[in-house]
Subunit: 158 residues, 2 copies
Amino acid sequence: MIRITREADYGIVLMTCLARVDGQPRSAATLAQQRHLPLPMVGKILKALARAGLLNSQRGAQGGYGLARPAAEISAADIIGALEGPLAITECSTDMHDGCSRQDHCEVSSHWPRINQAIYAALQSISLEEMSHPDPPRPLHFHPSQRTATAGIAGRPV
Amino acid sequence: MIRITREADYGIVLMTCLARVDGQPRSAATLAQQRHLPLPMVGKILKALARAGLLNSQRGAQGGYGLARPAAEISAADIIGALEGPLAITECSTDMHDGCSRQDHCEVSSHWPRINQAIYAALQSISLEEMSHPDPPRPLHFHPSQRTATAGIAGRPV
DNA sequence: CTAATCAGTACTGTATTAGTTCTATTTGTG
DNA sequence: CACAAATAGAACTAATACAGTACTGATTAG
């Protein structure tokens, strides 16, 4: 459930790469080669991240991309938000839900903002610095037993 | 960012309807009419929710669907999980990522479980009972100022 | 000057989603 | 008992979104 696009997936991978070299710029080609990702895709994603202000870009020969801020000040929410647009799970949850044809009978309009908030807070709490370290240092003791109740229903994880 | 399908959206709407009548069964047709949702869609969703054990179904004349458990014991994660399959944002985050062709160069495989956990915990923390009340009683003091930084990048909220 | 590199846009095949339709099965009611 | 109301389940279709590519232009180090 809850799909994140592959763009965001690659985006996080690339950001962690840049976080690990600590501010030093890397070219799109270098990163693509390092991670074995398709170069055009990598280029597209880095451009978007730079537009969003998460990366500094240097044009020309010997140019490349580097983190615009320390890794600790960049969250998963920032990266995903930059690549997929603002947090909005359904159309109704955007600020302008004028176009919602069922608005009159919806009445439940309050539940999506609530869910959005929860997810956003969760993503905001994960920093790029944390994600750059291979070993997860936060225990958090999550019980997977709870999800096995629903896990068997649809084998399709997408 | 982070899209949830309309099926899950409708699913929550329908579940809140059933939560508000407190266990009393309602037919798919009744619910569809009440919320002005397409009947075939409603039928499909209710069937899935019943299969997942979240609803009891009664066949035949005067039949219908009712909550299988108290609303307080049903979470947003349960509903969404029942309609979209288990929590898995990317392919890599399922237990079997044998097919991941980039596994050797991935190295970041640890970040998706972490994000999945955070989102799952967030959804698990929201009960159907909470969602059934029109006024959100939990303050949670979310600061939207943080997201406006990325909000303007892509106007497409989907 | 020129090669390397980023910036931006437009395009395409494929997969997913949203929604429909049809048939079978169950069960209350006259 | 027959019929109508309702769920169960699967198969199908049109529209949309995604993943990835291609191309043109702008910038800059050497």
